[in-house]
């Protein structure tokens, strides 16, 4: 029997590796980056590592796209990982995010005189973690991906070692993150006990709807759900978000505000929608509660904020609530809507943070409302882009924000969760108030005249985000098709 287990053919190995090709390639570049960092002289390190990082992201992005177009997605490593469209979709998303992050963070680190190389390496590790999460089809891999991503981000949050805020953020994030992952883990253990395996598809096939009587599974859902909700920073497990976002250096905030969310949603969809379809009523009830609280809490708390980082943190909490509606609704439309929302939300939210990044000074971030004053004159392009991002977050057509909401809410109403949708819309009236509040300093007359220095790479990244958050809204069809294909593996075509 052992012999049988040990047989692992070369072709099999290639096939397996192929399925996780984007992850593998990125990991390769990750190791190469470490080596570069070690061998090159200090002053040349930063750029070199940045190059490597961008190359890695681009390569794995390319691989993912290639596999999407030409390769047959399937399970690998005894169904511990997969290369299906869902995984590829998220790999593309994270690859793009990685490139954007490097483009924005590199000048920032330069200005603040920090070591670029380690930063990029950590972000790469986090991206790998996210990709693993996207491709994971086993509770074990899910957990490992989660931890990989988290640990990288713990360090990244504390990256500005001279700032007490940064350290505080790192500590809070680490402690509460560990606490949450203990919950997730316990849940996984119980589910494993109930299903006798950690492989998600097998769990799905083993657990019938009768399992809703099994305490192990139910408790597992609760504990995992709690942990997942923590990761998507949904209320009432959101409390860490504003502090961590505020303390972390802005590029990290920008990165995690969209990356972690997307990865966590991928995880939720995999485990719940993919692994426990027969217990949908239970986890839907749980998520509905979480979604409702997040929308209310997030939008209300955002009103009184004076720090853009915190404001965007709370807005992120609210947005998580909206997206959860799509997850709850489920089905091809619901999940497609979620994927669409996540992909566009990446551009919008990242762009917003990126604009704030441009304001940063050598001695620290500048993220208060008054730092935006006169942006309309200091950098008209930035001002226009910021306007686009805010309006998109507020959900004004024709920006992507509106269509994301439209799709998600349509799915929600179709699935009979009208009360959630109504709540969401009522709260988004509130949200408009604070999103528009951000624009007031941007456009109102001010005496400040100091130009905002926008290096090319960052400018390109922000502009790309801006264009995307308009173009993908004016013509959302293609992306929506892709999202549907991406959701297929979960919902079945």
């Amino acid at each position: 029997m052992l012999a049988a287990d040990l047989s692992y053919s070369w072709s099999q190995a290639l096939a397996d590796l192929g399925q996780i090709a984007p992850i593998a390639t990125l990991t390769g570049f990750f190791l190469f980056a470490i080596v570069t960092d070690l061998v090159l002289p200090k002053q040349r390190r930063g750029n070199a590592v940045a190059m490597v990082a961008v190359a890695g992201y681009a390569y794995s992005l390319g691989t993912a796209v290639y596999r999407w177009r030409f390769a047959q997605g399937g399970y690998a490593y005894h169904q511990f990982a997969t290369g299906d469209n869902f995984a590829l979709f998220f790999e593309v998303l994270f690859g793009t995010l990685g490139i954007l992050t490097v483009a924005v963070s590199h000048p920032y680190l330069r200005r603040r005189g920090m070591l670029e190389s380690e930063f990029h390496i950590l972000i790469m590790a986090a991206v790998i973690g996210m990709m693993v999460l996207g491709a994971a089809t086993s509770l074990v891999t899910v957990f490992l991906g989660l931890e990989l991503l988290s640990i990288a981000l713990y360090i990244a949050c504390g990256f500005v070692r001279t700032e007490s805020r940064s350290q505080e953020a790192a500590t809070k994030y680490l402690l509460i993150g560990g606490f949450a992952s203990a919950f997730v883990l316990y849940g996984m253990a119980l589910v494993y006990g109930g299903a006798g395996t950690t492989v998600i598809p097998v769990i799905a096939s083993r657990l019938g709807s009768s399992a809703s009587g099994n305490p192990l599974i139910l408790l597992g859902i609760v504990l995992m759900g709690v942990g997942f909700a923590f990761k998507v920073s949904a209320a009432p497990f959101h409390m860490w978000t504003p502090d961590v976002y505020q303390g972390a250096p802005i590029p990290v905030t920008a990165f995690m505000s969209v990356g972690t969310k997307a990865a966590a949603f991928a995880m939720i969809i995999r485990v719940f929608a993919g692994g426990l379809p027969h217990l949908a009523p239970e986890w839907q009830a749980l998520l509905a509660f979480v979604a409702a609280t997040s929308m209310v809490v997030g939008n209300l708390m955002a009103i009184t904020q004076t720090s853009l980082k915190r404001l965007l943190a709370y807005s992120g909490i609210a947005q998580a609530g909206y997206i959860l509606i799509g997850v709850i609704a489920g089905g091809p439309t619901g999940l497609a809507a979620v994927l669409y929302y996540l992909f566009t939300y990446m551009f919008v939210n990242f762009g917003a943070f990126a604009v704030i990044t441009m304001l940063a000074a050598p001695d620290g971030d500048r993220d208060s409302f008054k730092d935006l004053e006169g942006l309309g004159r200091r950098s008209p392009l930035m001002a226009i882009l910021m306007t686009v991002f805010m309006l998109s977050l507020a959900g004004f057509p024709p920006s992507v924000g509106f269509f994301g909401k439209l799709f998600v809410f349509t799915a929600g109403v179709s699935a009979g969760y009208t009360w959630l949708v109504v709540l969401a819309l009522v709260m988004s009236v509130v949200s408009v108030f604070y999103y528009v509040r951000v624009l007031i300093p941007v456009w109102s007359a001010s005496t400040r005249t100091d130009r905002v220095s926008a290096p090319f790479s960052s400018l390109a990244a922000i502009a790309l985000s801006g264009v995307a958050s308009l173009a993908l809204g004016i013509y959302p069809t293609t992306l929506l098709v892709v999202s549907q294909l991406g959701a297929n593996p979960i919902t079945g075509p």
Partner: protein, 167 residues
């Protein structure tokens, strides 16, 4: 016989756990965690997880806890003061935890266990079987853990540098 062992070990673990929370000095908490681990390792043995038992003692109780001890030594014996700014914290936490524990307890009562898949327990949990599992089915997770550790190492190095300039 095994029953006795179980109860002793369990009692040990519980005592240790209580100690972790109860002691004021961090160092004692660490030591009591070691106690917990030892107790658990015995239970692992009962559950025919010999390899895990070894790892638990050597790596966990050995290495990791020692690391903690080093850090505490580095920081000096910080005693936790009784005063706290947060009123109600203790009471509320007690309440919540009791409720949560109650819920968990209540749920674990009516557990329906799966039928065990038939494997011969003679080699169950031995180094051999663990190894096979680790390098066939768990190959992918195993590799992932390596990256994880690498990242942790990098992070630790970065964070524990004296200043930006060295290295």
């Amino acid at each position: 016989m095994a029953l006795v062992v179980f109860f002793v070990a369990a009692a040990l673990a519980l005592a240790g756990a209580v100690g972790v929370v109860a002691f004021r000095e961090p160092i004692r908490s660490v030591l009591s965690l070691v106690v917990v681990m030892l107790g658990l390792s015995v239970l692992f043995l009962l559950l025919s997880a010999q390899f895990v038992f070894v790892v638990q003692i050597i790596v966990y109780a050995g290495a990791v806890m020692v690391l903690f001890l080093f850090v505490i030594a580095l920081m000096g014996p910080a005693r936790e003061m009784a005063r706290t700014k947060l009123r109600f914290q203790a009471w509320l936490s007690a309440l919540f935890v009791v409720v949560l524990a109650g819920l968990i307890w209540a749920m674990l009562q009516g557990v329906q266990y799966r039928q065990p898949d038939k494997t011969d327990l003679s080699i169950f949990g031995t180094v051999q079987s663990i190894g096979v599992g680790l390098f066939t089915t768990y190959l992918y997770p195993f590799e992932l853990t390596s990256i994880l550790l690498l990242v942790a190492a990098i992070g630790a190095i970065y964070l524990s540098r004296k200043t930006i300039d060295d290295l």
